[in-house]
Amino acid sequence: MIDPAFLTDTIGQLLGGLPLTLSLSAISILAGGVLALALALLRRSSGIGSLFVRAYVFVFRGSPLLVQIFLIYYGLSQFPALRHSVLWPFLRQPYWCAVLALALNTAAYASEIIRGGLIAVPSGMIEAGRALGLSPFRLFRLIVLPLAVRQALPAYGNEIVIMVKSTALASIITLMEITGIAHQIIGDTFRSFEVFLCAGAIYLALNSLIARGVWLIERRLSPIV
């Protein structure tokens, strides 16, 4: 029933989409991470900044990512003003629309994870740093951030895996990454089970590598027990 030649051929075709899956994941996770840090810090401020971040998190966590992708891809391109602006060379391309939507989405989840990490930094550590005469910036960079990162790492690892899975949605706006190619092969051959097996194996391998990597970093950052 299972046809090895078909499986190897399918895996070969699907691997052609791997570079796109990887670059979508990497760029949106990096950009989303930077944005998330900024949001987490703004959330600690009082007043309008904190309110903005709360609204942002509410909107991006409360609605489906696919709606966000469609809104950015089809919704924004409706406006002639935007089509004549400097942003259009980017937003014209499905690739950058997908990156933008993925980054904005992960920033909402990641900012909450980072916020949790920041809250978990013991106040005694901060006071100790202050007593050493560290400037606020150095205090943040040398003490608060490393401790918060260590605290947040397991949850952030999960978020990275979720993001890699989410890049599959880019196929809906015409990008031929792994899932897009898988859909095309299913459409041509109707052998959905075998194609699922192959594509699933690629994603699982990728995600277990990521989980392993996060675990290694976690171990490095942990104090010796």
């Binding site: 391109s77 089509r83 014209r92 499905p94 015409t174 459409g187």
Partner: protein
């Protein structure tokens, strides 16, 4: 458990699969209901369109009572062979690939495949605009496509997934043009109007429908119109290979509707073009 499945299974067991009626007082016809102006659903959920009107006319000629039902495009061919209905009228192009699985009546509409672009996008008047190319004629096809390949190099062209147009793009322009595959025609129309893609490749009748909307006023045909080859000779009624009598009935009715001008009248009414197949 899927109720439909259970019912059809029970029916198959009760009646035996090979039991077949030889005359056809009742015919069940499937359409997609989402492909204007061929077939669509009104706001009140009723089916309408060129094929709905044509089905009514053909059934009158065949003296049969017809029921037209909506069926998702994805499962429309397998459903015919499963006996969920007896015929398909859903802008189903007659192609050699499909003829391996089902039978077709003679074509009742022949809409060539065309490229369309927007005014001012720099893709108007591609070589061959206004001509008609039969892809079965190898030399003519090559002569028409060579200059197009140069013009489409690196351009983003939208097609709909699993259509003859997607096949056409992949067989003649793979690696040349940036082929973008969309789930629905609405989506590539939006992207063409937004200027995100340079052109679309679609059936002329559908492009014409998009042109007639206020937002589509800047869409123009460009390059030659293609027929034959992987595009096929037009759309016909899809039928089971095991029902030759029914095919005979549809063929006779379609020929009569062509001869007395009914086909041309319905075509002009729905497409604003006469898409009667050349006989």
């Amino acid at each position: 458990m899927n109720a439909k499945f259970a019912c059809s299974l029970a029916l198959a067991l009760l009646l035996g699969v090979s039991a077949q009626a030889k005359d056809w007082p009742k015919i069940k016809i499937a359409t997609e209901g989402a492909f204007p102006p061929y077939n669509m659903q009104n706001a009140d959920g009723k089916l309408a369109g060129f094929e709905i009107d044509l089905a009514a006319d053909l059934c009158k000629r065949m003296k049969a009572e017809c029921e037209v039902v909506a069926q998702d495009w994805d499962g429309i061919l397998p459903g015919l062979n499963a006996g969920k209905y007896d015929a398909i009228m859903a802008a189903l192009s007659i192609t050699p690939k499909r003829m391996e699985v089902i039978a077709f009546s003679v074509p009742y509409v022949s809409s060539p495949t065309v490229l369309a672009t927007t005014k001012g996008g720099g893709m108007e008047n591609l070589p061959g605009t206004g001509t008609r190319i039969n892809l079965d004629d190898d030399a003519a096809a090559r002569a028409a496509i060579e200059p197009l390949r140069a013009k489409l190099k690196g351009k983003a062209i939208g097609v709909q997934v699993s259509t003859i147009q997607a096949d056409f793009m992949n067989s003649y322009f793979k690696g040349v043009a940036d082929v973008r595959v969309y789930k629905t025609a609405e989506e590539f129309n939006l992207d063409l109007e937004a200027g995100r893609i340079d052109a679309i490749l679609a059936a002329a009748a559908n492009v014409k429908a998009a042109m007639d909307t206020p937002q589509g006023k800047d869409i123009v045909f460009t390059g030659p119109a293609f027929g034959g080859g992987p595009i096929g000779i037009g759309s016909g009624v899809g039928l089971r290979k095991s029902d030759p009598e029914l095919k005979g009935m549809f063929d006779t009715a379609i020929k009569a509707a062509t001869a007395d001008g009914t086909l041309a009248r319905l075509s002009n009414q729905w497409f604003k073009l006469d898409l009667t197949p050349p006989s």
